[in-house]
């Protein structure tokens, strides 16, 4: 009922990247936190329009991997190239601009700004790129309508349900039409029905050309949304499989 079934117009990406071109290239990426090695020489490529699922046991470095791609963290060694840009070498400000323009991110625990209304949370992302408040709100509202949460636009995150919050987070991630959508266990904090809705949303997005990297513990979700599965263990890539699109 509320989740979108077909690719709706406002979600439509301007997919400047022709399909098949490499968007992300990780080369021998290591990340150490003191004693722990979260990533231990990860080499990986992601092409435009792909949907890649990353799976593995808890603590194997999935979130760390995503953070590397998002420019939320820097590798201890190795390079992360996104659109040919070495993310690890960008200045803090450069990283911020990079995230604004290229990345949309969805977290397991939503990470919305509690002090802002749902709508403002989303509009904020566009305003950071210089979009004036009015058009930013308009676009945010359109996204809300498409995601079926228009009636919750003025509510604050604290009073939203988990599913609603995650849809707000998705809207925020999509606001700037990112080249790359990164989702870290987007259904992890949701019940199966709400999870299902978010899953559908991601699937639809990918079908209209959105490049997607998805970290999940949920095999079903991976099979449903992703075309490729990368498995991690102890900070290393242990396998890559192409997935048959399920039902």
């Amino acid at each position: 009922m509320s989740g979108p079934r077909r690719a709706p117009s406002v979600l439509c990406m301007v997919t400047e990247d022709s399909s098949g071109k490499t968007v992300v290239r990780l080369d021998g990426v290591r990340r150490e936190y003191g004693e722990t090695t979260a990533l231990d020489g990860v080499t990986l490529e992601i092409r435009a329009g792909e949907a890649v699922a990353v799976m593995g046991p808890s603590g194997c470095g999935k979130s760390t991997l995503l953070n590397m791609i998002a420019g939320l963290d820097r590798p201890t060694a190795g390079t992360v190239l996104v659109h040919g840009e070495d993310v690890g070498r960008l200045s803090e400000k450069g990283l911020a601009l990079y995230r604004r323009r290229r990345i949309g991110m969805i977290f397991q625990f939503f990470n919305l700004v509690d002090d802002l209304s749902a709508l403002d949370n989303v509009a904020l992302a566009a305003q950071l790129t210089g979009t004036p408040a009015r058009p930013a709100r308009r676009r945010a509202m359109e996204l809300f309508e498409e995601l079926g949460i228009a009636d919750r636009a003025n509510a604050h995150p604290a009073v939203l349900s988990g599913g609603e919050r995650q849809r707000v987070a998705v809207a925020r991630a999509l606001m700037n039409r990112p080249a790359l959508l990164l989702a870290d266990e987007p259904t992890g904090a949701l019940d199966s029905r709400a999870g299902e809705q978010v899953m559908d949303l991601l699937l639809d997005l990918n079908q209209i050309g959105q490049t997607l990297v998805l970290v999940t513990h949920d095999e079903h979700l991976a099979r449903r949304c992703a075309g490729r599965l990368v498995t991690l263990a102890d900070g290393r890539v242990t396998g890559q499989h192409t997935l048959e699109p399920s039902a």
């Binding site: 979130s63 995230r99 604004r100 990470n111 509690d114 002090d115 904020l124 950071l128 790129t129």
Partner: protein, 770 residues
């Protein structure tokens, strides 16, 4: 219980900064309270305290030895009105040679034969050496801030024995300049007998006179040779300190109020910022009572430590501080009697932690009642309110988004923001008030300071004898004017007059010469221009219910003169009137000036002038008007107190802002994850706190001024003076702006440091940690 302890310890460890700030704030404010209370205590009744401790005599009476015998005196002192008595002590007056001046005694010196320094009345403070017990020994009356290195020196009494100094004792009541053993006194030919009396009721001079009358009625006619009431002494000694007492008390009370409020603010802020954590503890299975315990321990442990350290620091600080405040020619006698009384320490040690617990209790109790889920969101979720509307309008404004976001943030958490604003208001109010007060005190202290530098008395004492000037009054006046360096000479005489139709007496000063205003500060009206005009001290005007413009008839002997009060000058002495020389001599034709006040040209050495004056006429006694020490010290202490309060207030603001900013670390991480630059994050947080700081300053400055206007007039009223406008117009727009900006600056700094640190953290780190 172990779980509580562990959770509290972990919480303290995770909040090192907060713990440190709580400890610091409680430390400084407890220290301030200890000093402030000590000051209030010392300033409230410095003389009464010292006098009470020595059980000083209400009346020191001297009797003629040839008229009344010791037995008669002892019997007379058994009057029911007499509470306690010491004596009779034989009293001798001897003239000591000039060279004994090095021991602080020369000229006409009173020596009393007394067996011991203690007793029922007049317990002397024997602070060095021992009491004189054998012939040839003497104890000198000396304040303990002198040195005792004259012990063992010898004083030759002309036509008498040579006395060796064996001890120094201090006697506030100055019943003698020196004491010897009773076995020695006869050799000094005592002419009088001294009785030291305490009465059960000694509240007024009239009462004392009555009581003395009852005592002397039992003695032969003419036995009483003279008596001095402690009220005179009290007036003389306490005058300077008394004028400042209300200011010091105001500072003390202000310090207490501010410290308590700031501690309450900081502590409750700490609890509120922990709401989310509280929710998590509850989710873990902590009972509400345990949660409460965790929070109380977490906040009160550093607070109690801070209080204890503060009491210690306060005592350390207060000793030199009080000594510093009560130093000087008049206040020196309080030197030993002021200190931190035990009740202050007890109160601070028990009271401040109690304040902390109470401050922590209110929000902790609220947290206890919250459900786990609500508590988790309570620290973060705006409940209701107009916040979205305000934020919406701001978001639509033309301001950079990071700025409009920052300005909007405080509206999202009104409780937290209110606390921050309260801290700033409190700080700014305090500093406004305190700096105003300090400025007033400084101007009050400096009033009339440059009026003259040398006072030449029209008599002097040499070899124990009064010497008169060789020149006549007019000759002396022009002689002093002609000496090198003199810029102006003003002669001053005084005479006691009565006011027709009233029992009040007045001391009328006649002033003649270049600057008849001397160091008097006009508060109203003008100075005299012609004969028949007087200028009255504010205290005299108030106490006699008169106003500027009124006419009174002054009487002296058989003469009387109608005068108009044309002005008022700042004066706590309730008897003082000043007039021109013509009016003065019209009432008292025989009176001559008692002193000439000389204003010197810039750069003239007062000591050189004084030497020149003494050389020109050996019969005059020039004295250099040194800087007024008590004024200097009190003004200094006002500045020190202002600075101390400013530190406490700044710490309070800083802490609140730091906590507020740290609370938002996770938000900052999120904002960065969607592409905010570190600079934007910093700008946002800083703007948000600057907005609160500005609001606080805008409220705090007028509040401080209002407080000043409420307190200062009442304070000066209490000592019967009126301050001239220049002493109370203490604020200038520039200074106030600077003050407001300081409030904002502290808020900004408190936000800037943690915001910049948070902005620099890797986002992964922040989000991972939360």
């Amino acid at each position: 219980m172990r779980a509580v302890w562990r959770a509290a310890r972990a919480a303290v460890r995770r909040r090192r900064l907060q713990t440190l700030v709580i400890a610091l704030v409680t430390l400084t404010s407890t220290g301030a309270i200890v000093v402030a209370l000590g000051l209030v205590d010392a300033a409230s009744a410095p003389f009464d305290k010292a006098f009470g401790e020595q059980r000083g005599p209400h009346v020191v009476a001297a009797f003629d030895r040839s008229v009344a015998s010791d037995a008669q005196l002892a019997r007379a002192a058994r009057d029911p009105g007499v509470e306690a008595v010491e004596g009779p002590f034989p009293r001798a007056t001897v003239a000591l040679p000039r060279d004994t001046a090095q021991y602080g005694v020369f000229g006409e010196v009173t020596i009393v034969g007394r067996a011991e320094p203690g007793g029922e009345v007049d317990r002397l403070d024997l602070w060095a050496g021992r009491w004189a017990t054998a012939p040839g020994e003497v104890v000198l009356n000396r304040q303990s801030d002198w040195t005792a290195d004259d012990l063992g020196k010898r004083i030759p009494v002309p036509s008498g024995p040579t006395l060796t100094i064996v001890g120094f004792a201090f006697d506030l009541s100055r019943t003698a300049d020196a004491w010897v053993a009773p076995s020695q006194i006869d050799a000094l030919h005592p002419a009088a007998t001294q009785l030291l009396l305490r009465f059960s009721d000694a509240s007024s001079d009239t009462l004392l006179r009555e009581r003395m009358g009852a005592v002397t009625a039992r003695l032969p006619q003419g036995a009483l040779a003279g008596s001095e009431s402690y009220l005179t002494l009290k007036h003389r000694i306490g005058a300077a300190a008394r004028a400042y007492a209300p200011y010091l008390s105001a500072f003390g009370i202000l310090g207490i109020v501010v410290s308590v409020l700031i501690v309450a603010n900081v502590v409750s802020g700490a609890v509120i910022s922990g709401f989310r954590h509280i929710g998590i503890l509850k989710a873990l299975g902590f009972t509400p009572g345990q949660v409460l315990a965790v929070y109380l321990v977490m906040v009160t442990a550093p607070a109690v430590l801070g209080c204890a350290a503060g009491v210690f620091a306060g005592n350390l600080l207060a000793a030199p501080f009080l000594r510093f405040t009560f130093t000087g020619p008049d206040a020196g006698v309080f030197h030993d009697s002021v200190g931190i009384p035990p009740w202050v320490n007890v109160l601070a040690l028990l009271g401040m932690p109690a304040v902390c617990v109470l401050a922590a209790l209110a929000p902790s109790l609220r947290a206890r009642r919250l459900s786990a889920a609500r508590a988790i969101s309570a620290g973060t979720a705006p409940r209701t309110g107009r916040a979205p509307g305000v934020q919406r309008r701001l978001a639509g404004s033309r301001l950079p988004r990071s700025v409009s976001l920052g300005v909007g943030l405080p509206f999202a958490r009104p409780g937290r923001s209110a606390l921050t604003v309260a801290a700033v208001v409190l700080g700014v109010t305090t500093v406004t008030f305190a700096s105003g007060l300090a400025t007033t005190m400084t101007r009050f202290g400096n009033a009339g300071r440059d009026a003259y530098q040398v006072t030449v008395y029209a008599s002097t004492v040499r070899h124990g004898k009064l010497v008169e000037p060789e020149h006549s009054d007019p000759e002396l006046h022009s002689l002093l004017s002609s000496l090198p360096g003199a810029a102006g000479v003003t002669a001053r005489g005084d005479v006691e007059v009565t006011v027709a139709g009233s029992a009040r007496k007045a001391m009328l000063e006649g002033r003649r010469g270049d600057g008849p205003e001397l160091d008097s500060v006009l508060t109203e009206g003008r100075w005299t221009r012609r004969a028949g005009e007087v200028v009255a001290g504010t205290a005299w005007l108030r106490q006699s219910g008169l106003r500027v413009g009124d006419e009174v008839r002054l009487q002296k002997g058989g003469r009387s003169r109608e005068v108009t009060v044309v002005g008022a000058f700042m004066e706590t002495n309730g008897e003082l009137l000043a007039t021109d020389w013509a009016t003065f001599t019209a009432l008292a034709p025989e009176e001559k000036p008692i002193a000439y006040h000389v204003k010197l040209r810039d750069g003239t050495d007062p000591a050189a002038y004084a030497r020149a004056a003494a050389a020109a006429d050996p019969g005059v006694g020039p004295a250099i008007t040194g800087p007024n020490t008590i004024t200097q010290t009190v003004v200094g202490s006002a500045s020190a107190l202002t600075a101390m309060l400013a530190v406490v207030a700044s710490l309070g603001v800083f802490n609140t802002v730091v906590l507020n900013t740290r609370d938002r670390r996770r938000d900052l991480g999120m904002l960065k994850s969607i592409g905010m630059t570190p600079r934007q994050v910093t700008v946002m947080m800083t703007t948000s706190m600057a907005a609160l700081g500005a609001l606080g300053s805008v409220l705090g400055v007028p509040l401080g001024i209002w407080g000043y206007r409420q307190v200062v007039p009442r304070m000066v009223d209490a000592v019967d003076i009126t301050l001239p406008p220049y002493m109370t117009d203490v604020w200038h727009p520039a200074a106030l702006t600077a003050l407001a900006l300081t409030g904002i600056a502290i808020a900004v700094l408190g936000a800037y440091l943690p915001a910049r640190r948070a902005a620099r953290l890797t986002i992964a780190q922040v989000l991972h940690n939360e």
